[in-house]
């Protein structure tokens, strides 16, 4: 359903300030914590302080109103645990308890809850609950989880493996035999927190007047949450309304179904007052789904002229204690396997994945999901191959990339790369960064100096807005892939757009308004966009997988097109002309001989339908969008980083960072650039700063912003961004997703740049975050290896 943008005035392509800004700039946003809920009881969860243990007893304090404290036993009759299932062969399910029973499996796992008039009082009360846990040895680090003597997270399993997958395309052994050079590398991306600045938040109230349970949650997936709550609480969906108000970011941390949501919803049905839980930062660092924790062993083979002949990948992911719904613990590993071939013409590929259980918090989606790991694995390898062959790493990329004449191209992992010029993005990145100048400066550095310059690149393809079949291929039991929109024209001639998608801060109220403007030629700010309320909006799956603009935008365009047809029919009736002679200009229906404003037209049609006898009633349209190509629309980019490395301290200074990317037709450059810069900032956090450290007992050691370092204003340079706009042939307006790309490449680009800076010493940067200590260690290792040799 390719549709060219027609007007490009205020609509698609316009760099417009966001409609959301006004309320936030005056402190008028309404987040869950800001809701005025008379009589609300604030909830504090009591959580496990040990990573692994037998839960022997949970004892309530004496003399306290029992209804203010809930244990697993109290909650069990009203809520089922959530079991994320998968169709992958051999997958082991691990039901996610709402409150722990029998065993605790990570620090932060909810054990009981207490409620009171304020959070402080609820915490006081929770502190009186006596929890008896017999601590067990914990399975923690990715290196040890499959050891025969490793503690087992789930007693009934024979090992700690959620699932294993493998695949072979072509013949890697033949490739190896033909290769001029083969290298093997081991990489590790350490565990990260997602850190939306607004923590998770849930409130629930049972409205007895209309028999409706209202659940407010800071969730990216309100419709999915409603469906699952109905299942787990065993009540009909019609009695459940989920509202996601303003959200302080999500980035994937808020698109799984959580025990806290289930518990509060279930309890609200049993009490006479609203209940609310606002996660504190410690909870957010230990109990919100986490990310990465990948380990790779890659062997790659190349010909003397720099052609990539074959890749073997062993992928291990430490997925934590449980599978979260609907993604499951295999999400990262299976996606990584599919994304390692990246933008390259690869004919021989073999992979094995292990999704492993541990006594850490469950892994969930985080911007980029597995792609930062896959990108790191292949892009670090490309650089080292290029070095072995004496090629510029960018040149090695250009030689191996899918070229525009092959588009649309089906990758070795059977993904359809729809459009674009991948090698050109690399070439432009070298120009954007002034590559030759940096090489000159690098060469000019005195050998005796203690600071080195490096430049590094990383390229990737970003799968966005994929359909049901893609999700099914990954084993998901819930195959997501359709998005609804309803557009209503009211009697004043104003539009309200109801969408099933949820904007968690990315400006959909603006960009979807621009889509409507594209059809009706109106001011986008005059469109009210209603999102995040299951009682008001048509069904949609939510915001994740860089799908919102393509899919909700596609749905909005579909609804607008249908409504436009009807409005033109009404106009034709009123103006006594043929509808084909009419069009939309500046909020009017205009023909050769005259026109009528949308407000006049709407009044005529809605107040006196008898004046328009030939058109059916209703001034609205509903449309459900699904992708034409199920593997989605592929955005791509090349990132480049320039660093200066201190040889004595291992400190890395980021001197420059550039992005050349192609997300197809850009709907709003201000917003797309914001997505890229914000994504890169998070990626730089992955690359240089952010690490959730767990000790051997599974105790998290970085549970506050004092010891978990986030990028601040000083750490993120002013970015250089260049857009290539190749419209996708398969989407409305040629849009492709832009939400995650920024976060994918920075770890690889930075590690390549630091490795480049240290080439004379042979130090390889193969682990993130690239802390001064790791750089220094890499130099020591290289030094030892040189001395041994």
């Amino acid at each position: 359903m390719r549709q060219e943008p027609r007007l490009r005035r205020n609509g698609v392509g316009a760099r417009r300030p966001r409609h959301e800004d006004e309320r936030h700039l005056h402190g008028r946003g309404k987040f869950v914590a800001d809701l005025d809920l008379p009589g609300v009881q604030e909830v504090a969860f009591l959580r496990s302080q040990v990573a692994h243990g037998r839960l022997l007893a949970v004892t309530k304090p004496e003399g306290i109103d029992e209804s203010r404290i809930w244990t697993a036993e109290d909650l069990a009759p009203f809520a089922l645990p959530l079991t994320a299932t998968s169709t992958l062969p051999g997958f082991r399910a691990a039901p996610l308890p709402n409150l722990a029973e029998g065993k605790v499996r990570y620090v932060g796992e909810p054990v009981a809850l207490a409620m009171a008039g304020s959070r402080a009082e609820a915490e006081d009360l929770a502190a009186l609950i006596d929890v008896d846990i017999e601590a067990l040895p914990a399975a923690v680090h990715i290196e040890n989880l499959t050891d025969p003597d490793s503690p087992r997270v789930h007693d009934e399993w024979p090992d700690n493996i959620f699932a294993t997958t493998q695949g072979t395309v072509g013949d890697v052994d033949v490739a190896a035999a033909e290769a001029a050079v083969s290298i093997t590398r081991e990489y590790k991306l350490n565990r990260q927190a997602v850190v939306p600045l607004e923590t998770r938040a849930v409130a629930a109230h049972y409205d007895r007047n209309i028999d409706q349970l209202v659940v407010w949650s800071s969730t990216q997936t309100p419709h999915m949450l409603r469906d699952m709550l109905a299942e787990l609480l065993n009540i009909e969906g019609r009695r459940l309304r989920v509202i996601a108000p303003d959200m302080g970011g999500g980035f994937g941390a808020k698109c799984s179904i959580y025990p806290e949501e289930v518990a509060l919803a279930a309890i609200a049905l049993q009490v006479t007052h609203p209940v609310r839980w606002i996660e504190d930062r410690w909870e957010a660092m230990v109990a919100t789904t986490q990310a990465r924790d990948h380990a790779y062993r890659i062997t790659a083979h190349a010909s003397a002229d720099g052609r990539l002949l074959g890749v073997e990948a062993d992928i291990r992911v430490n997925a934590g204690a449980y599978s979260v719904h609907p993604w499951t613990a295999t999400m990262d590993a299976s996606m990584s396997a599919a994304m390692i071939p990246g933008p390259y013409l690869l004919e021989n590929y073999r992979f094995t994945t292990h999704s492993l259980a541990s006594n850490k918090a469950p892994l969930g989606p985080y911007r980029g999901v597995a792609r930062p790991g896959a990108c790191f694995a292949i892009e670090r390898t490309i650089d080292d191959l290029a070095h072995e062959l004496g090629l510029e790493p960018w040149e090695m990329r250009v030689r191996n990339m899918v070229t525009p004449d092959l588009m649309p191209f089906t990758s070795i992992a059977r993904k359809v790369y729809d459009s674009g010029n991948y090698p050109e993005a690399v070439r432009r990145a070298t120009q954007l960064m002034d590559h030759d100048e940096w090489r000159r400066r690098q060469a000019d550095r005195p050998v005796s100096g203690r600071r080195r310059l490096g430049i590094g690149y990383a390229s990737f393809t970003e799968q966005t807005a994929h359909g049901c079949i893609e999700w099914a291929s990954r084993g998901l039991a819930i195959t997501i892939g359709k998005e609804g929109a309803r557009l209503v024209l009211d009697s004043t001639g104003a539009f309200t757009l109801y969408v099933g998608i949820k904007s968690h801060g990315q400006g959909l109220e603006t960009t979807l308004g621009q889509v409507i403007s594209e059809v009706f030629d109106i001011d986008p700010a005059s469109v009210t966009v209603i999102h995040g309320d299951t009682a008001l909006t048509p069904r949609g799956d939510g915001t994740f997988a860089s799908r919102s603009m393509v899919m909700a935008g596609g749905a909005s365009f579909g609804a607008a097109s249908q409504l436009a047809e009807k409005v033109l029919a009404i106009g034709a009736d009123l103006l006594k002309v043929d509808a084909s002679t009419l069009s939309f200009t500046d909020g009017k229906v205009v023909g050769e001989t005259g026109g009528i404003s949308l407000s006049q037209l709407a009044r005529e049609f809605l107040f006196t339908p008898d004046h328009v006898p030939n058109v059916d009633g209703g001034l609205e349209a509903t449309y459900f969008y699904q992708p034409e190509v199920q593997t989605g629309a592929f955005t791509y980019a090349t990132h480049a980083a320039v660093v200066e490395v201190d040889l004595d301290t291992g400190e890395v200074d980021l001197l420059d960072y550039g992005v050349v990317e192609d997300c197809g037709t850009v709907v709003n450059p201000l917003i797309v650039d914001g997505q890229i810069i914000g994504g890169v900032a998070q990626g730089l956090g992955s690359a240089l700063l952010e690490e959730l450290v767990y000790d051997d007992d599974g105790q998290p050691k970085s549970t506050s912003f004092l010891d978990y370092l986030l990028p601040g204003p000083v750490e993120v340079p002013e970015l250089k961004i260049e857009h290539m706009e190749t419209p996708s042939p398969y989407t409305v307006f040629g849009m492709k997703g832009a939400g995650e790309g920024g976060a994918i490449a920075p770890p690889a680009a930075v590690a390549n740049a630091v490795t480049d800076a240290l080439r004379e010493f042979g130090a390889l940067i193969n682990e993130t975050p690239v802390t001064p200590e790791r750089v220094w260690q890499a130099l020591q290792v290289a030094d030892r290896e040189r001395n041994d040799a």
């Binding site: 800004d21 309320r23 607004e198 302080g248 801060g505 506050s704 004092l706 204003p713």
Partner: protein, 161 residues
């Protein structure tokens, strides 16, 4: 639980409020004055979302005890309404300085106090001055540009009224 009575001027309105002794300024503002524009991002004094002005200087309202504000003048994001605040907001919007809006209140309050100093600042100085505020969405580029532009505007008019 012991209580204290706090006389505090909030956004120009004098108030007398009895709170539990352990109550933070943030909770007083949010729960008692119902000014929810002041956001709590970490309650550890690091993220800066809860920044308000106390007697003209930015403070972390999450770490400031309400009891310590007796006699103080407090200004929250809702109370910023002069020409500097207006210019700051304009630049925030056009420079892409906000996305989810959660850190925005703290950024505005910190940025406002900076702009009111009427000191020339380059990009690095603005970035350093904002280093106590975390934004997870924007990557800071827009925020730094917005504050710098509002500062340049303020310097040009040099009018603190």
């Amino acid at each position: 639980m012991s209580t204290v009575t706090v006389k505090v001027n909030v956004n120009g309105t004098p108030r007398t409020i009895e709170v539990e002794s352990r109550t933070s300024l943030a909770d007083l503002l949010r729960d008692r004055v119902r000014l929810t524009g002041t956001h709590l991002g970490c309650e550890q004094g690091v993220c800066g979302s809860c920044t308000v002005l106390m007697d003209g200087l930015p403070v972390r309202s999450c770490l400031t005890l309400a009891a310590s504000c007796d006699g103080a003048e407090v200004v929250t994001v809702e109370g910023l309404d002069d020409a500097d605040a207006h210019r700051l907001r304009q630049h925030f919007s056009t420079e892409g300085a906000l996305q989810c809006g959660f850190c925005t209140s703290g950024m505005l309050v910190t940025g406002y106090e900076l702009v009111r100093r009427r000191t020339e600042m380059d990009r690095d100085q603005v970035a350093c001055a904002l280093a106590g505020n975390i934004c997870r969405c924007t990557g800071y580029n827009g925020i730094i540009r917005a504050v710098q532009k509002a500062n340049d505007d303020g310097m040009a008019v040099d009018d603190l009224t």
